[in-house]
């Protein structure tokens, strides 16, 4: 009897100990969910701006008070983690970064190297590696990027995230670089990271007002274009919009895109091609102990717009003419991209990686001074654009026959 009493008391006590919840309890209403972060330079420390969302204003079922949907705080501390925890000095809740979506780094910081600031993001257990990393272009302060009240998605970090994600699926000028990709590109032999640029277009002061989102034609928007190139993880230059697309084609990171080309007979008029199947293959040949990179592009597309007055698409030979014309013009974009990367000695194209993967022995000789060797690498292009369709109509209605 006493045994039974004793064991049941013991059981109750153990349950009390084990079932009372965990040490690390942080309820949702105690957390401020950080969706965007910006890193700027301030004297000799980094300045960290955190954007937390205001759930009451974002939830669709609730009627908010009409307050701002996001709340930005800026902290300066020697390390990023300390800045992050100092967030609570200005906010009533603890910063929680598992739902981080974008990290914007100012160009000034990126020119001094990105490896030191990224360490925290790999190390901390709360961080998931699926957020995007961007560079605030043209000495724009990164914190300003996150201060704009953007239309449609009022929280700029969400705006940037969606813009990048859907841009990569429909236009191809943007490049998705998550933390994992960035780490891979930054540390793997023979490739350098290329990060998306973002800048504020329009008047900064007006953009920070709520009225910015209340107009049909906002005074200020964010512009996400151009790619930052790195050399040994220091920012060295920028690729233009077309070159960014070229880079995405070369590395095979493209899904559906649209490009404009000059008409075969008249270079003042244009037609547009919508590509829907892109495949890039590479091969590396060794000639005289020098690597030559053969790139093959197989692109299936259809004509999505024609402004050419003399082009008769009902004839088969004109299709081949258009294909040939677009191949040539596409080639110049690719050559331009490679030229630009070579000019900055920044192997964002991953040529070194291609050599490493195909000819590891040759790579052993090249890798010690790859930055100098990279501009000397010869590249051949083989572009095959296949046009299958002309949309709902055959010839443009400007034709009067």
């Amino acid at each position: 009897m006493i045994m039974k009493w004793l064991s049941s008391t013991l059981l109750v006590m153990i349950s009390l100990l084990l079932l009372s919840g965990c040490w690390d309890r942080w309820e949702l209403n105690e957390l401020s969910i950080i969706t965007g972060m910006a890193i700027d330079k301030s004297d000799d420390h980094y300045e960290l701006t955190m954007q937390s969302i205001n759930p009451a204003e974002i939830a669709s079922q609730e009627i908010g008070n009409g307050y701002a949907q996001a709340f930005n705080t800026t902290e300066v501390a020697p390390t990023i983690h300390e800045s992050l925890r100092k967030h609570v000095n200005k906010s009533p809740r603890r910063a929680f970064i598992s739902h981080l979506q974008v990290l914007v780094i100012s160009e000034e910081v990126a020119r001094e190297g990105i490896t030191s600031i990224l360490d925290f993001f790999y190390r901390d257990h709360e961080v998931r590696s699926d957020f995007f990393v961007l560079i605030a272009k043209d000495d724009q302060r990164a914190k300003e990027i996150l201060s704009i009240v953007t239309p449609l998605e009022n929280v700029p970090s969400q705006n940037i995230f969606d813009s990048l994600q859907y841009g990569a699926r429909s236009y191809g000028g943007t490049r998705i670089v998550t933390l994992d990709d960035l780490y891979q590109d930054a540390t793997a032999p023979g490739i350098e990271p290329a990060l998306m640029g973002v800048q504020v277009i329009g008047n900064l002061k007006e953009g920070q007002e709520r009225s910015n989102a209340e107009r049909n034609e906002p005074a200020t928007t964010l512009l996400i274009q151009e790619l930052a190139m790195f050399r040994d993880n220091y920012l060295v230059g920028w690729l233009s919009q077309d070159q960014s697309k070229g880079l995405n084609y070369i590395t095979g990171d493209i899904r559906d895109s649209v490009g404009s080309f000059n008409c075969p007979n008249n270079s003042d008029e244009e037609f547009a091609l919508e590509s829907f199947k892109e495949k890039t293959d590479y091969d590396v040949r060794i000639v005289n102990n020098k690597p030559i990179i053969d790139l093959t592009f197989n692109i299936s597309s259809h004509i999505s717009e024609v402004n050419c007055s003399t082009l008769d698409l009902s004839k088969e030979e004109n299709f081949y003419l258009v294909e040939k014309e677009s191949e040539e013009q596409f080639l110049t974009i690719l050559q331009d991209t490679v030229q630009e990367a070579k000019a900055h000695q920044s192997d964002v194209l991953g040529f070194g990686q291609m050599i490493h993967r195909k000819h590891p022995k040759i790579w052993e000789e090249l890798k010690s001074n790859w930055n100098e060797e990279f501009p000397n690498v010869e590249v051949t292009y083989d572009v095959n654009i296949k046009i299958t369709d002309t949309g709902n109509i055959i010839n443009s209605f400007t034709e009067d026959d």
């Binding site: 084990l18 965990c22 040490w23 690390d24 790999y122 257990h125 998931r128 590696s129 699926d130 994992d180 780490y183 891979q184 540390t187 793997a188 990686q353 490493h356 993967r357 195909k358 000819h359 590891p360």
Partner: protein, 393 residues
Amino acid sequence: MKTIAQLSPRSYGFLVFYATCSTALLGLATSLATYVHQDAWVVPIVGSLFGAGVVFLYTMIARWYPFETIYEINEQLFGKTIGIVLSLLFLSLPVFHFPAITSYSVTFIQNYTLPTTPFIVITAIGIGLVAFGIFSGIEPIARTAELCFVFFIVPLLFLVFTTAPLIDFGFVQPYFTFSWFNMSEAFSIFLGNVVSNVVIQLTVFPKYLAKKKAGERALWTGYSLGCLILTIITFLSIAVLSPEVVSIDHYPAFTLAQEINAAGFLQRVEATITVIWFICIYFNLTLYFHCIVIGMKHFFKLKSAQVLIPVIALLLVYLADYYFNNIAEERSFYQYVSVPHSIFVGTMLPITIIIVGIIKRKKQQKPLYPPYPDEATVYKLQHTPDSHSSEKI
């Protein structure tokens, strides 16, 4: 009437399966990728083929002494003194590794889910569960292993199939560029951490299995399934996460689980997936604990070791808490202590047993690879009142 615990071959197979995966399922890819980078996936394939030879030695020993555990085998083969020395050597494997594995898995739990919960609390709860398992006996443990299968295989298959589309074969190129020195280094890690740990099965198999022949098949099935899973997870880690990320990541398989994104809505499920590592590590720890308990029972010639369980558990909680001062110490333990020690106990010791055994059996003109006694003989032997192996653990 006291009878010996009897495991069904199927549940025993699951036990071997989990114990083979163990902590390697969580962190093997890192230790391999640090040495051979993108070729890390080759190691488990070659290693498990080589390991098959080692497992063959275990089955040979089992065929010679189908009613004994390794401790009794040592004594019978080498006599009292040398037998005890070898048995103590064998006992050092679970004693050294139990706290290490506990510490590793508790650090994992602390890192990802309970960062400020005191280490000793998680350890005490964990080891409490292990001790409870041992208290119930090896037979209920094996049955639990069988029942846990659903909770193990469903998340595991989910992990494999949702991350398989993310494979980038570029990450595993160029093929076979390792230096032989690094390869042998990685190979010894696999041999030490995975293959040699199978030796603890000799404290369960063949004594606690009624159907010896089927039990041997279960050992093979469990071992090969475990190695297959390790190969798949290592390959996936490398091909999805890239060798660079894997070689700095403490828990590559967990990072792999973070990549899961099924159609945009089923994501961030890694906390659910962790159940597979809990199951694996639990059964591995339980086997180690079992190994320690029956070792104690053997050395002190106890009828039942039940009373020792809470005491050993308390000591192990203490040990696990004080085992490593920091993560660097833990790493060097695995590199300089764990691997050589495991290889020594898990491979060298069986080889010694086999060599001595062959010489002895040649002299006595006994067959070198005898068949197992059939079930009826086993039953009769185990149910005679004076049989020395009729005590329950």
